[in-house]
């Protein structure tokens, strides 16, 4: 079936057999947690704990504990939301779009990437919730539920409502997709389990998977259907998130370029985040044979492409700011004012992290270097955070009437709530890495025959 070229780099190195794959991956979750895992977990839980205090105070005292003001109604909250949602794009893109394009290299990374997506979307979802002044009502008033308020219904004109639909749909489909992919692997673990509890838990999780040919066939059809469903969602979520801004009247927000620009940016940051996590996982869990230099390079190429789109989008924005002749756009974010004004640091952070640093990936030496890839992946995510911060905060801070212009200074609660999501993200990811198969064993087994070096010899 698979045509293997002798000139093509193998996707899995180390001459793995199917049994090796099972051993390598299952042994990670069958043994005792390693020391580095324990340390990581301790750090993640501390972050989660400290962050939870910030969340508690935020809900108890009010949004005023943040640094927002009458001019800047959103800052870190929605920045973090968009940032996390953006990160959450990579997983489904890798597993769905690359599946449709039959990109086999995705197989060793899609599981972790999807898990990351799920956790990132949960982190993202925290912010629209927590940023509400009356969270306790917002939970259900923002949903089109039948209610006792007579004809009172949600406002379908509001992009925030669209967000609710877009993000929840994306989350549901991603979760189902991820879980279905996990079932055969859970079954392998179940079959290997010696411990009663493991047997029971993984038995339950594997939904009675029997490995029959018919089951496999159904499994593959479902995966394909879900991939088909998930593909448009990858594009729709960030398109709709971008409409929070694009449909508004605020200069710098009101921009028709936003949907593609945001989607590209999301993939950009998502791939960077996958890169960061994979390089750590690779090292810590000794997956050098599964996550190879080739994987890293391919990921970097996606980062270059999406980064390039983003850079063009910025340039277009700045050009249009000047070309439109509109003072509002021409001032601050879009003009030289951005580079020299009160927000220069944030603007330069964006340019350096998102354009200049990723540009080094054009050099093969850089994009095949694990260390550089790791550094750049982090820099890109910092840059993407600044992109959202710049769009949201700079544009709000200097809008139409100069009388209301102001600055934004974060408080420890802004930082604390962000930390909370980091704590959650890493706690969840570490739990996933410990108890779930980090690499899709069943899929990997399908490519070792065709691509592993041993078979080719």
């Amino acid at each position: 079936m698979q045509v293997t070229s002798s000139v093509r780099e193998p996707l899995v190195t180390g001459g793995k057999t199917a049994h090796d794959v099972t051993e390598d991956i299952c042994s990670q979750l069958e043994g005792r947690p390693s020391k580095s895992w324990m340390i990581g977990m301790a750090v993640a839980l501390s972050a989660l704990g400290i962050g939870a205090c910030a969340v508690f105070i935020l809900v108890w005292d009010g949004i005023g504990v943040w640094g927002l003001n009458k001019t800047i109604g959103w800052a870190w909250d929605i920045t973090n939301f968009v940032w996390w949602v953006g990160i959450g794009h990579a997983g489904t893109l890798i597993s769905a779009i690359l599946l449709l394009f039959r990109q086999k290299w995705r197989m060793s990374i899609n599981r972790a990437a999807e898990a990351m997506t799920i956790f990132a979307v949960i982190c993202a979802a925290c912010f629209p919730g927590l940023h509400m002044g009356r969270l306790w009502l917002g939970f259900y008033w923002a949903l089109p539920l039948p209610n006792t308020f007579g004809s009172l219904w949600v406002n379908f004109n509001s992009p925030l409502l669209w967000d609710v639909f877009a993000v929840s749909t994306y989350f549901t489909v991603s979760l189902v997709f991820w879980y279905i992919g996990l079932i055969p692997d859970f079954a392998s673990i179940r079959d290997r389990a010696t411990n009663k509890i493991s047997k029971m838990v993984y038995g339950a999780l594997s939904f009675g998977w029997d490995g029959a040919a018919k089951t496999w066939s159904r499994y593959e059809s479902v995966a394909l259907i879900l991939a088909g469903l998930a593909t448009p969602l990858v594009l729709s979520v960030h398109t709709i998130v971008s409409m929070d801004f694009a449909t508004s009247v605020i200069p710098g927000w009101h921009s028709t370029i936003f949907p593609p620009y945001f989607v590209a940016g999301a993939i950009f940051s998502g791939f960077a985040m996958v890169q960061t996590l994979l390089l750590i996982t690779r090292k810590v869990m000794h997956f050098e044979d599964y996550i190879t230099r080739g994987h890293v390079e391919l990921m970097n190429i996606v980062i270059i492409i999406t980064g390039g789109i983003v850079a063009i989008a910025y340039t277009t924005e700045f050009f249009m700011g000047w070309y439109s002749g509109l003072d509002f756009e021409d001032y601050m974010y879009m003009s030289y004012g951005a580079a020299t004004g009160p927000w220069a640091w944030a603007w330069w952070a964006l340019i350096i992290c998102n354009i200049l640093v990723p540009a080094t990936l054009w050099f093969k030496k850089v994009r095949t270097s694990f260390v550089w890839s790791f550094v750049i992946s982090i820099v890109v995510n910092i840059g993407m955070w600044f992109e959202r911060f710049d769009i949201i905060v700079i544009d709000l801070s200097h809008d139409y009437l100069p009388s209301s212009w102001s600055m934004f200074y974060p408080t420890r609660y802004d930082i604390g709530v962000f930390l909370f999501t980091f704590g959650f993200f890493f706690t969840a990811f570490l739990l996933f890495a410990k108890f779930f198969p980090v690499i899709n064993m069943s899929e990997i087994k399908s490519i070792i025959k065709s691509t592993s070096s041993k078979e080719n010899k």
């Binding site: 009010g62 949004i63 959103w74 002044g133 917002g138 949600v154 406002n155 925030l160 605020i250 100069p402």
Partner: protein, 1030 residues
Amino acid sequence: MKDNKKTYWKGIEQLSNDPEFVKNAEKEFPDFLPINQNEGGGSSRRDFLKMMGFGIAAVSLAACEAPIRKAIPYVNKPVDVDPGVPNYYASTYVNGGDYCSIVVKTREGRPIKIEGNKLSKLTQGGVNAQVEASVLTLYDNERLRNPKAAGKDTDWNTLDKEVITKLGSIAAQGGQIRIVSNTILSPSTKQVIEDFKAKYPNTSHVTYDAISAYGMAKANEDSFGVRAIPSYDFSKADVIVSFAADFLGTWISPIEYTKQYSKTRKLGDGKKKMSRHYQFESNLSLTGSNADYRIPIKPSDEGKAVAALYNAVSAKTGGTSVAGAGKYANIDKAASDLVKASGKSIVVSGSNDPAIQTLINGINSMLSNYGSTIDLSRPVNYRQGDDAAMDKLVSDINGGTIAGLIFFNCNPVYDHRRGTELKAALSKVSLKVSTSARPDETASLVDYVAPDHHFLESWNDAEPVKGSYSLTQPAITPIFNTRQAQDTLLTWAGSEEEYYNYLRNYWRRHMSFTGSFDTFWDQTLYNGVLDTETETQSFEFAGDVNSAAALATAVKAADTELALYFKLGVGDGSQANNPWLQEMPDPVSKATWDNYLTVSQAWARDNKVTSFQGECNKAKVTVGGQSLILPILIQPGQAQGTVGLALGYGRTSAGKVANGVGVDAYPLLTSQNGATNLNVTSGVTVEVLDEKYHIAQTQTYQTVMDRDYVIQESTLSEYQKDAFAGRYHPQVSNWMEPSGQTSPGNISLWEGHEYKNHHWGMVIDLNSCTGCSACHIACQSENNIPVVGRQEVVNRRDMHWIRIDRYYSSKKGTTDYYEMIEATDNPEVTFQPMMCQHCNNAPCETVCPVAATTHSTEGLNQMTYNRCIGTRYCANNCPYKVRRFNWFKYHDNSQFEDINTSMNNDLGKMVLNPDVTVRSRGVMEKCSLCVQRIQYGKLEAKKEKRRPKDGEIEVACASACPADAIIFGDMKDKESRISKLLKIKDTKKADYIIETEIGEPRAYHVLEELGVKPNVTYLTKIRNKEQSEA
């Protein structure tokens, strides 16, 4: 049937019937369960269950208990009070010499709002911020609740007995008694003091004012032989020249003058002329901000500039010149304008130097303004203070020659130049009494405090201008155990008469009326005011201008001169404990909660002081031996070589709100030619400190960035040529139009709204608005707007629904944003009141996910607080940034206890308007166009089966405005002022859109190109100058 002899038994035991069985047979079932197994006394399982049951029941019952609400229903309904229906009482606001005729709105017996009294010929329905805010002072938790003796609560009988004994013994020993007061406008109160003097003959009455105009009165005595301050009529003036007189802000009678002044600034079809206003001053005052030409001068130059104008006018009218004049820009221009407008001009000076005022009198006399714009035959009583007498009193007290002192509602320890000296000397006085209603700096040092009522609890009269009378009537029964100060004096003078009867009798004796006195009294009380005829006298100027000029120009210039001033909010500091006033942004500097050293931009450049977002260095100001450490505020328009500082701050015994806010500058006041002087022209040094301080400003960017879609302005000559002058007409490309272009409002995604009944709208005339901020406090009072405190203003979270944007001009014609952002050193100033624009295509309405903000069928953009979940998307998407979010819970929250007093204690809460919800935390709020008033007005009209008449429904800001710059009304009503002013036409744009089209050339919408179609319209700002400087 045969008897059955069979025996049945239940068990073998019964059959055998052995004794053991018989013994227990009756106890088949145990007659008790072990209730108390452990006899030791602990609790059993049953006890536990009982306790738990009771506990749960008790806890849940306790939880069910309704919170105690202190609303007590009327057993017998008072005749005049209907729950839910407000009552209005005409009354008079008097605070020292400040006067305003008012109408008090009460609900269920509580005064909740103050409106202007339109029947008054003086204030004409206008109010200012201090008047509006005074209703909150009534409910100040820190007012004295009982009379005090030696710092301890006492009762009135004891106090009276002790004071009378002591006064008696002082009188018997021939000791001197002084009654010290601020200006007393009330003729009957003066009579009370006379009665007191009659009882204690060694008594005399000393009057002083924190904002003194003694120099003027003295100058008029020199010039015309009457020691008085004339009344001015700015409405008749075509040319106004003011030397540091802040007549729209704090000088003499600002409400009255604003009313008059604004009449000369109105433009329209029939009126293409307006007054021209020159202002020579050091600090950028509110009046200076409104001037057509503003010339910054140093305080030491005031005399020289006045002399220069004197010479220039006299040269044109053929008079003689005086020596010592300086050379200043625009003096000649002003003089020729003045001479052209002889008899229709006014020259005023805010100086308290009699010499300068004599020169001013000379100028006005040359211009024959007396008898037309200036009327000495109807002198005003607003400032009767005698600085010399007060000076002498302090020296006398120091010399130990005063035995008894009665501080009649005044606080000289704080607000007199020699307050510190007075404080130290007070121990030499054997009897010190104060009638202050609060334990202020003076009252905390006296032996007895006989607290006065708040004016809303009092009877009183006033004669603000000769022949114009006004009555104060109580709108609430006294809240605390206080007593009207007049009653106190009457009691001590041995009179049994109540002041109310005394007042009536005084009026019966002194007023001329026809018919019964009761009818006359009731009618006057109903109207609140009474105007009587006065004789017109003519006065001949006989002042010695040469010696006056010599004195006035003798002031030597220094490198740094200090010009002290008063702010519109806190004023002289007597109402400093009022958080509304503390948080009212200064109209010019936009700073709240502080006073600060205003420095010029040039000075800041020289000293390398920069300010960002209100954060700037602190400075140490030394005057003579006294130093003050205070923050710097860089103030465009500040004259070079001068610094400014507001009085009224730095109170130590005002209350929790005001204590420690700002620094006390009263000790820096000087005396010049016998009068208290606001200018310190020698010995001022300013040292910049490294320490930084963040001044809480509500606006930190100063210029309009050349955005003519925000401020549209022009000059009078341009306007006379073309009524559309200064207008900006945005156009967008549209292929459907033959011209290829159309107005942005013509293209819309939305179908528009059809208004079948009413269409509320508002017009704001930028030309009349002086920026005085009366509307600020009126809105705060009407709409229960919380005060958030200094730190929250620093965080840019002030809650005011209406704000007054103040823009300075930047360098003309520049396209460089960094130049645009800088104000010029002497900028033109524009004030733009900004509140919810009630857009017809409101950007906030579309983005709310829960439809909490919606459009009403009458054109209002309305907020449903209950529905709001607080996403703040609406606020972000508001191009005008007028939405306000409740970041915290501002009511019943210890964090805001000492700041937001109207929502954090039971007394303060009495001021809340029951028609307006107090918003909870987490919800958005904004201007509702006083929807509660609209609704009330509609219902009142409906009861009479008619439509509301124009003017019946008035929003709080419009009714407060002393400049009539805000006009509210129904744009559907063709006869309404707003429809006529805007020349409203309805045009059918498409089948479904009926657009309100505005015909008035000056009318524009802010940010028209957005197509949000506001219902608030602005009229262009027109400056009466040859050419615009920016």
